[in-house]
Amino acid sequence: MVNLKVKLCGIALDNPVIPASGTFGYGSEYAELYDINCLGSFSFKGTTLEPRFGNPTPRIAECPDGMINAVGLQNPGVDAVIREELPALRRIFHKPVMANVSGFSVSDYVETVAKFEADEAASSQIGWYEINISCPNVHGGGMAFGTSAQAAAEVTAAVRRTTDKPLLLKLSPNVTDITEIAGACEAAGADGISLINTLLGMRIDLKTRRPVIANKMGGFSGHAILPVALRMVWQVYEAVKIPIVGMGGVSSAEEVIEMMLAGATAVEIGAANLVDPFACKRIIEALPTVCESYGITNLEEIIGGGH
C-alpha cells in the first residue's frame, strides 16, 4: 500500500493532485464525466471583486506542446461566486477547496477575501486562499504585484490581516529572480507559495501577419513548460521554509513525483485538463503503481527529495 496523503499547511489531502485555477471552472463540466471527489483539492476559477468579461477573442492559440491563453480573468465576481457557484460546487465536491483570488489593487484582494470570510457557508468550504499575483493577461494588475518583491509583500501582508486561513501566494515565472519574490511573501506572512503561473508568450498568424491572440500576448502553458516550472520550484524550495504547490506542464503521475522531488508538497494540473478532461483522475489512479515502481511507499516523504 502506497500512502498518497499529504498535508498542505495543516490540511490533509487524500492525494497531492489539484486542478489548477482556470482550467477546471467550478467543477461542473468535469463532474459530468467523473466523481471529482477523487481530487486532493480543487482551485476554482480566479475570482475578482467585480464581475469581469475578460479579453476579446481569439483568446487561445496552439503552441508546440502547449497553448497560449489570454482569457483575462473572466469571472462573475465574488458576490455571484458566493451566491451561485460555491453552493453548486458543494453538491459535487465535498472537500476543502482552494479559493483563487485576483485583483487590481491591494484593497481589491482584501475586499474579495473579506467577502468570502464573511459568508459562513463559503468560509467553511474554503480551505486555503491562493492569491494570484501573477496573471499575465490583465493590464494594471495581476502580474504587476507578482513582479515586485515589495508589492508582493504588501498584498500578502494586507490579506494576512484579513484571514486566518492558510494563504498561498501564486507567483509569476516572468521575473528575474523568483526566490526574491517568494522570500518577500514568506516574510510578509504567507503560509505557502504556489508556482508557476503561465509564461508570457505569443504566436503570429502567417496568413494575416498579426498576432493570433486578440490581446497580442498571453500566458504560455502546457507540457512544454514543465522544465521551467521544475527549475523554479527547486529554487524556491531552497529559498523558503513554507510549503510549495508546484505546477506547470504536469500531465502524468511520473511528473507529479518529479515535481514533488523538486520540492512541491502538492501539485496542480492545468492545461492537461483541457486536452484530456480525465487527466487528474488518470494521474491519481496511476500514482500508486508508479510510486511502487520507483520504490516509493509514502509520497509525503519524497517532498524535496531531489535536493
Partner: protein
C-alpha cells in the same frame, strides 16, 4: 459529453480541399444537430473542434476543410485508424422553433451541420411535429447553399436526396444565382431560419432576415466543453461560452 475512441470507416475528398470522414464508435452523447466533436490529433496540443454533419447509433459523419496542420493531418488518415474524440459538445440547433416553412442557409464549410438539421426537421415533420398549416408537410424544406465557385460545391445531391429544395448561390455565378446567399434569401418567405457559415455572411443575413432564427458560431477553443472560458462572447443576456452555451445562438440574443 463523452470521451471515446472512434475508428475511421471512410475518409474521402468531396472537393479539392473539403473532406468527409465517417467515424464509428459510441455516439450516445450526440443529442442534436449542430453539436460538435473535439478531436485529439498526434503532434498537436489542443484538440480540434469539428461540427457534426450527421450521426446515427453507430457512426458520426463530419465534413472538414483543410485549412491548417490539424485538418491536413486528418485528410491523410486512412480507414481503420482510430481517433480520441470528445462527443456531444455544444447546444446544437433547436428544431422545435422551425414553424411551417423554415429555411436553412449555409456558407462553404459551414454547410455540414445543416444536413443533420434538415434530417431532424424532416423527421419532425413526418411525426407531425411542425406547427399545422395548409402547406406543412407538402412543401419541401428550402436550403440555400453558398459557395465561391461551382468547383467548391459539395453535398447538393445529399441535401436533395434528403428531401430538400436546394437553392444555390455562387460568388462568381458559375452555378446557381450569381451573388450571395442573401440574394436568394431576400426573395423568399419563410417562418424561421437556421444558418452556419462565415461571420461576414451572418452580418449580411442579419440585414435582410425577416424572421427569428439561429446562428451557429465558430471560435478558437481551448477545451471545447466549457471549462476554460477561451471562447466567450457577450450577448444581450450576459456572457456565453461558444463551446458550451453555443455554438448556436438565437438571433434575439446576439450583439453584433
Amino acid at each position: 459529453m463523452k470521451q471515446g475512441m472512434f475508428t475511421i470507416t471512410a475518409n474521402r475528398r468531396l472537393t479539392q480541399n473539403v473532406c468527409e470522414m465517417i467515424l464509428a464508435g459510441d455516439t450516445s452523447a450526440c443529442q442534436r444537430p449542430g453539436q460538435f466533436l473535439n478531436i485529439k490529433l498526434d503532434g498537436l496540443f489542443l484538440r480540434r473542434p469539428i461540427s457534426v454533419c450527421d450521426y446515427d447509433d453507430e457512426e458520426i459523419k463530419i465534413i472538414y476543410k483543410i485549412v491548417g496542420k490539424g485538418t491536413r493531418a486528418m485528410a491523410d488518415m486512412r480507414q481503420g485508424q482510430t481517433l480520441d474524440v470528445l462527443t456531444g459538445l455544444g447546444n446544437g440547433y433547436d428544431s422545435s422553433k422551425a414553424g411551417t416553412s423554415p429555411v436553412l442557409i449555409g456558407g462553404g464549410v459551414g454547410i455540414p451541420p445543416l444536413y443533420g438539421l434538415l434530417k431532424a426537421l424532416q423527421r419532425q415533420r413526418a411525426a407531425g411535429g411542425l406547427a399545422h398549416s395548409e402547406s406543412a408537410g407538402t412543401e419541401k424544406i428550402r436550403v440555400i447553399l453558398g459557395f465561391n465557385t461551382a468547383e467548391e460545391i459539395f453535398y447538393q445531391k445529399e441535401f436533395e436526396a434528403a428531401g430538400a429544395e436546394v437553392l444555390l448561390a455562387t460568388a462568381d455565378g458559375s452555378a446557381g444565382v450569381k451573388g450571395f446567399v442573401t440574394d436568394v434569401l431576400a426573395g423568399l418567405d419563410y417562418s424561421y431560419f437556421y444558418t452556419c457559415g462565415p461571420e461576414a455572411m451572418f452580418r449580411a443575413i442579419e440585414r435582410v432576415a425577416k424572421t427569428s432564427g439561429q446562428y451557429s458560431f465558430e471560435e478558437r477553443m481551448g477545451c471545447g466543453f466549457g471549462a476554460c472560458m477561451g471562447c466567450s462572447c457577450e450577448t444581450k443576456y450576459g456572457s456565453k461560452r461558444i463551446c458550451k452555451d453555443g455554438p448556436v445562438l438565437e438571433r434575439e440574443e446576439i450583439l453584433w
